[in-house]
């Protein structure tokens, strides 16, 4: 089991350094809130999808988009029904009326949702998380913080891998995991308890092992691998930042 959705590859996006991709994602998300109107939002979404496509990961994004489609539907339903600015009816199903204003708001919110998703997927699908973290540590983020984030990525699959065996073991001892709500709730602690306790106890051993490798030294670290920033990365950064400045200026003036 791998925690991250990262898809390795060799496209121009992959070869960008992590910081550039972080800038791309952050700027795109800010633009979601700054850009006015539906067409601008749709255009932004198209750009993000374009970047994903050129990275060869558009297919992989589909499950993520589908995953939130339920939330998008609730936007249409809830706002269509009860948005305070509702005036003009659009659709009537029996006793229930959906209004134009609410449905349009639902559209706006859904565009916002998908935009945020698409923008951050550039980071998620096309950047190796440990490269991203190392990139930040190189620029001054404390290395102990970098350790924490990367350690999570390996620790979680390791911990999750043991959960299957724990459930089987407990079931074979007669623990009920199906049935009424109360039965299932009672099963939670015998499953969680031992795993959590042993993980916390192991924390002491982990800390000792890290200590003897100089973890608490807090010195400026060096890096085994070199960071490669392709020349066109600077152009990409400039482009995105320019778009951001223009959008903010446009909003401010208009």
């Amino acid at each position: 089991m791998r925690l991250s959705l990262y898809v390795p590859g060799n496209s121009w996006v992959h070869r960008l350094d992590p910081l550039t991709k972080l800038i791309m994602a952050v700027v795109a998300v800010i633009l979601v809130f700054v850009l006015p109107g539906y067409w601008a939002s749709a255009a932004l979404l198209a750009v993000s999808l374009g970047v994903l496509a050129s990275g060869g990961v558009l297919r992989r994004s589909v499950p993520v988009f589908l995953g939130v489609s339920l939330i998008a539907i609730t936007f249409f339903v809830v706002q269509g029904l009860v948005y305070p600015g509702n005036q003009h009816p659009a659709l009537t199903l029996g006793p229930v009326t959906f209004y134009q204003e609410g449905l349009l708001l639902g559209l706006k919110l859904s565009l916002r949702l998908y935009n945020i998703l698409a923008a951050t997927l550039v980071l998620i699908l096309l950047t190796n998380p440990s490269d991203l973290v190392e990139s930040l540590v190189r620029r001054g983020v404390p290395s102990r913080f970098g350790y924490v984030v990367v350690a999570v990525l390996q620790m979680i699959p390791n911990m999750a891998a043991t959960t299957g065996t724990i459930m089987d073991a407990q079931r074979s001892r007669g623990m009920e995991t199906e049935g009424s709500l109360w039965t299932r709730m009672r099963a939670f602690i015998p499953l969680m308890g031992p795993l959590v306790t042993s993980s916390l106890i192991a924390t002491e051993e982990r800390a000792l092992a890290l200590e003897v490798r100089g973890f608490s030294g807090n010195r400026k670290p060096t890096f085994l691998h070199e960071e490669v920033i392709p020349p066109y990365a600077w152009a990409v950064r400039a482009l995105y930042l320019a778009a951001l400045i223009l959008a903010i200026a446009g909003r401010w003036i208009g």
Binding site: L208, A209, R213, G217, T222, L224
Partner: protein, 284 residues
């Protein structure tokens, strides 16, 4: 040259009434292989951790006495300083994996990056220790995909990359199968032969007896014996104190197969030699 000097070391963990170490003194020469044995709760782990400074800096508690290792007064320095001169390997291979690196090669680099070692030097050291521990062909594997014995050798490699003068190991084979155990003992013996000073706490007294230059016996926080294996294991009081002795020695004691200096064989090889000679005498 004395590389470890422990004087009247006393230590008590926080919220405990009894001291874990009660006046331990000994010294170790460069290049020696010292075994530390004793029943459970005798202070073996505490002593190992005291050589690196984890006792007292990690656990706090109350400490007295002096520990000098590789020229450093351990109590006056932080653990990250001491660990450049003294390495410590623990029991569990799994929890010694940093978790922050995805290949064996990078895992060794973890301590080096922390210590700010230059890149060229890092590359040189990593290759050296991986080849030394027989892990060079596994360098692209994920550390968690290794066997127990391999993981433990990786832990040793990671600590060795910091180029310490002394290597301390706290029951490094207790969670390994026999194959893993042999791997670790072989690796440690190799290191010793190349001049590294090694201190190893162990339950497997037969293996210690075969390789150690001297053996330190701990009991309830006190050092009750310190000398070459044959001398130490010849003592009558060890079994009563719960200190394990090599099965071979026990058998020879009961058979009365004593060596000229009053001690008993501590390895099978010695016993076989003796037994052959005894049978030879008997027949002649």
């Amino acid at each position: 040259m004395t590389v470890i000097e422990v004087e009247n070391l006393r230590y008590r963990y926080p919220q405990q009434a009894e001291p874990a170490l009660d006046g331990v003194s000994f010294s170790v020469q460069q290049g020696e292989f010292i075994g530390i044995i004793g029943p459970n709760r005798s202070g073996k782990s505490t002593l190992c951790q005291a050589l690196v400074g984890l006792v007292p800096h990690f656990y706090k508690g109350a400490i007295g006495g002096k520990v000098m290792v590789a020229g450093l007064d351990v109590h006056q320095h932080q653990v990250w300083e001491v660990c450049q001169r003294v390495g410590l390997v623990f029991q569990s291979p799994f929890t010694q994996m940093s978790g922050a690196k995805f290949t064996v090669y990078d895992e060794v680099a973890f301590g080096l990056e922390n210590q700010g070692v230059a890149r060229d030097e890092m590359v040189r050291r990593i290759e050296r220790v991986l080849r030394l521990l027989g892990l060079w062909e596994y360098r692209d594997r994920n550390p968690f995909a290794l066997s127990g014995g391999q993981m433990q050798r990786l832990a040793i490699a990671s600590v060795l990359a910091l180029e310490p003068e002394v290597l301390v190991l706290d029951e490094p084979t207790s969670q390994l199968d026999p194959a893993g155990t042999s791997e670790v003992f072989a690796a440690v013996s190799d290191l010793c032969r190349q001049g590294m000073t090694v201190v190893m706490a162990e339950h497997k007294v037969d293996r210690i007896a075969a390789r150690a230059d001297r053996v330190l016996v701990l009991h309830e926080g006190k050092s009750i014996a310190f000398g070459p294996p044959r001398q130490v294991f010849a003592r009558e009081d060890l079994p009563a104190l719960g200190v394990a002795i090599p099965p071979v020695t026990e058998v020879c004691r009961r058979l009365g197969w004593q060596l000229p200096d009053g001690t008993y064989p501590v390895t099978v090889a010695e016993a076989v030699q003796m037994g052959g000679a005894a049978r030879g005498n008997h027949n002649s």
